[in-house]
């Protein structure tokens, strides 16, 4: 039996406000609240809410046969809570059907898996906590920001306790292999890899309303017939896309929601089922290994990570940011920790790309870089204020440990003192 596995990504960075170098040390608030609110409201109204309504209807009409998954960055959840709480409610409702799964990823939609392993671990923990507190389910399947993956990153994720990871269909990794199977890590046989079907996913996400496309108009009937006509031994077709494709990239008048509604009908008629990623991993055996020595992602023509770290601007920004990772994690200042997360979103670096600054709201990559670096300069000064950079990390750690030990010692002695005093009292 063939299966379809739908998964939708939801992420929006905190957009940064115009921050001049005169503002450094003067202004510690970095975000453009107006723009963020407007963007989240727009996405909620045009995409998230109508799409959620559609999915709920599909699940109910198919008696729970239709199933799908979502991934959220912690940052977008924060913004939804603030600007569009009804979206959270509507996801809760979806979650209650039991036909929806939420996945683990980094809190900040960051590149920490490549640049800072400790940060990576912390962010995943933060994100999964957040998901659990909102929807009551702990994620078991991992999908990294931008589907960034390499053998090494896979190992890190495995060590964090995950056994299923989502990756993209990248020709130099798959070679002649089909994405419609389950694969495994080259050295960790228990680590299963699910592969996105790139063509069919993009057909929905980007081509659906494109009149110059040879397959326009795409109907559910046609779409399912493509899957039906695939060789019978291919067990799963993974259709993964950004959630805003529904309603925003593909407008409601293009018929995208009707298309979705019709999918389960034609699928079930042709004996094609629906699975959530965790179910895919459970039910389908891995057929072969997939090895990716270099990081891959789901963006760009090369499908590597050069859209985020390919040029000098991006490299300098990333280096300066992650150089203080260890130091920031020693800090306890909450606003500082929060800004640290917000500044890590991969989007900020994508805006600095000369090749493809997808989603940018800056005039040029240079403009994006200038603004980001001014903010980062202020941020770094704040970090420095907490713990001067003249002390190196190890020394600082040692000092912090000593302080901690001393505090414990004082506490112990105080307790002892209390005990002795009370004994003295009773003796008296």
């Amino acid at each position: 039996m063939k299966n379809l596995c739908f998964y939708f990504e939801i992420h929006q960075p905190m957009r940064l406000k115009r921050y001049r170098f005169f503002d450094i040390e003067q202004d510690h608030y970095y975000y453009d609240d107006f723009q963020n609110e407007e963007r989240i409201r727009m996405l909620a109204e045009q995409s998230f809410l109508p799409a959620n309504r559609t999915l709920l209807e599909i699940i109910q009409n198919s008696n729970g046969k239709f199933r799908c998954a979502f991934s959220f960055s912690g940052i977008v959840l924060e913004q939804l809570e603030q600007y569009a709480p009804e979206v959270i409610d509507s996801f809760e409702e979806l979650s209650k059907t039991g036909c929806v799964e939420f996945m683990a990823e980094t809190y900040a939609h960051s590149l920490s898996s490549v640049y800072d392993i400790h940060e990576f671990e912390q962010q995943v923990a933060l994100q999964t906590e957040k998901i659990e507190s909102l929807f009551g389910k702990k994620p078991t399947v991992f999908r990294n920001s931008e589907l960034i993956y390499s053998d090494e990153i896979g190992e890190k994720i495995y060590n964090m306790g995950y056994r299923t990871i989502l990756i993209d269909e990248v020709s130099h990794v798959l070679g002649w292999k089909s994405p419609n199977f389950v694969y495994r890590h080259p050295t960790l046989p228990k680590l299963k890899l699910l592969v996105r079907n790139f063509k069919l996913s993009d057909d929905i996400a980007f081509h659906f309303s494109d009149r110059s496309w040879s397959d326009y108009p795409l109907t559910a009937d046609k779409f399912i017939s493509w899957i039906k006509n695939m060789p019978d031994d291919q067990p799963v077709v993974n259709i993964w896309l950004g959630y805003e494709a529904l309603g925003l990239f593909q407008r409601p008048e293009s018929g995208i929601f009707e298309f979705l509604k019709a999918i389960p009908f034609f699928a079930l008629q042709n004996n094609i089922g629906f699975l959530m990623p965790s179910e895919v991993a459970k039910k389908i055996e891995a057929v072969d290994i997939l090895s990716s020595p270099e990081p891959i992602s789901w963006s760009g023509i090369e499908k590597d990570i050069s859209l985020w770290n390919g040029n000098d601007l991006q490299q300098e920004a990333l280096e300066k940011l992650y150089a203080v990772g260890e130091r920031v994690r020693l800090c306890t200042d909450r606003p500082l920790r929060h800004d640290w997360l917000m500044l890590q979103s991969s989007d900020h670096f994508r805006y600095m790309s000369h090749k493809d600054a997808f989603g940018t709201y800056y005039e040029s990559p240079y403009d994006a870089f200038m603004n980001y670096m001014n903010i980062l300069a202020d941020f770094l000064l704040r970090v420095d204020e907490q713990y001067p950079t003249t002390i190196d990390n190890e020394e600082l750690n040692a000092l912090l440990n000593t302080i901690y030990e001393l505090e414990k010692e004082v506490e112990r002695l105080e307790n002892e003192l209390k005990k002795l005093r009370s004994r003295k009292k009773t003796e008296n």
């Binding site: 005169f22 000098d312 601007l313 300098e316 920004a317 240079y366 200038m370």
Partner: protein, 418 residues
């Protein structure tokens, strides 16, 4: 195809961007197959490079019939022009121009500059055009900038050949709104009479369409390019402890020098390790010295006066940032020259070159905060400097006159129905 082209300046005797731009374009066009260009300028010095085209000096074209014998003419102008040509051109005198002051050969003495009696020179140039139009054979007439429009129009009226006018600047750019009605009139007549109008940027194209009421269909943008610098490697950046930020050009209203001073003031409030240089000359120089003094930054703000030749490129190469804050710049070649020697540039969005440059920082000319911020970003972040330095140079090396020349020839062909 034969082209009769009217210009005002030709290297090495150039005063502004017009000479550089028309030279680059003509040179590239002359190297295309089946192109024969006759370039007319008011004053011929004799040291111009005529290897790829014929140059006629209007100051050696007789407009009033004077009886002279061959030997006398040879003695007078034989060093620069064949006397036979003089006599042949003399046959083209069909009108009575005796109202114009001429010399013993019946020729007009042109200054070839921008003198106070510029309007008189422009109309005298028209007289020369009539003689040439009667004697020369050509398929297209091409006039560079308003000074030569009347000459082009007259040549068109006489020969019936199509006229192309090339707008390198408009009165709206030069005057920042205070348009001289006489100049506007000359420009408008030229455009009205033209079969096709070439503008150096879309910015200028819009002005031509909106302010001169031209049909958009007959206005085409052909962006300028820049000649490759043969001795580019000889300009080396001198190591200094302070960063150098430069303004280079005429210090006039059009170039927005006051925004440069204000931006300098902003930067210097935060960072004392920068020096600002204002290179060039112009009627606002005194005001700028006063303004810098008023802001109290003269210890870090320097004036060099007029630079030329190698000095220009050396100044650019020594700079860490080049800024062109022009209020209205039809094209603006200097940022491209700065990029050739690898200097990062900040240019105003109100400039034509910003339409074709990617690796340059673009700001509104009035946005002094943005300008100061960009200066700071370039001098503080090595990646920013490096990107603009390397990618900017690469970009500018791919902007070639050859492509511009081909576009112009395409316009000729469409006018001739080819």
């Amino acid at each position: 195809m034969k082209v009769l082209m009217f210009g005002w300046e030709f290297p090495p005797h150039i005063l502004g961007g017009l000479g550089t731009a028309s030279y680059g374009l003509v040179k590239a066009m002359a190297h295309q197959p089946d192109m024969e260009i006759t370039f007319v300028i008011p004053k011929l010095y004799g040291d111009e490079d005529q290897s790829f085209l014929k140059i006629i000096g209007a100051c050696y074209v007789p407009v009033v019939w004077k009886e002279n014998d061959w030997n006398y003419v040879n003695e007078r102008i034989g060093w620069i022009m064949n006397p036979d040509e003089y006599f042949w051109l003399r046959n083209g005198i069909k009108y009575d121009f005796r109202r114009i002051y001429t010399n013993d050969l019946g020729c007009i003495e042109f200054s070839g500059r921008y003198p106070d009696n510029l309007l008189e020179e422009i109309s005298n140039y028209e007289a020369v055009a009539s003689v040439l139009a009667h004697q020369l054979s050509f398929d297209v007439i091409h006039s560079h900038d308003w000074l030569t429009y009347p000459a082009g129009i007259f040549a068109k009226q006489i020969s019936g050949k199509p006229l192309v006018v090339h707008v390198h600047a408009t009165e709206f750019d030069r005057s920042r709104g205070n348009v001289n009605p006489i100049v506007y009139d000359i420009e408008k007549r030229g455009m009205d009479a033209a079969n096709h109008i070439i503008t150096v940027s879309n910015l200028t194209r819009n002005i031509v369409i909106e302010k001169y009421f031209q049909d958009p269909k007959k206005v085409t943008t052909v962006h300028n390019a820049v000649e490759p610098l043969p001795d580019v490697d000889s300009y080396v950046k001198t190591p200094r402890s302070d960063k150098i930020v430069t303004f280079l050009g005429r210090i006039t209203m059009q170039k927005g020098p006051e925004y440069f001073v204000e931006a300098a003031n902003r930067v210097l409030k935060k960072n004392k390790k920068v020096r600002f240089v204002m290179a060039g000359n112009g009627d606002m120089m005194q005001d700028m010295i006063n303004l810098a003094a008023k802001r109290g930054i003269t210890d870090r703000f320097h004036f060099t006066g007029f630079l030329k030749g190698r000095q220009v490129y050396q100044m650019l190469a020594d700079s860490d940032v080049y800024i062109m804050p022009s209020v209205s710049e039809p094209f603006g070649i200097s940022p491209l020259e700065a990029m050739q020697v690898g200097t990062p540039t900040i240019i105003s969005k109100q400039s034509g070159c910003s339409e074709i440059l990617t690796h340059s920082i673009k700001i509104d000319y009035w946005d002094i905060d943005g300008m100061a911020d960009a200066v700071n970003a370039i001098i503080r972040n090595p990646a920013m400097y490096k990107s603009l330095h390397e990618l900017g140079r690469e970009e500018v090396n791919n902007i070639r006159w050859e492509d511009a020349g081909k576009k112009v020839i395409k316009i000729y062909n469409s006018l001739l129905g080819k």
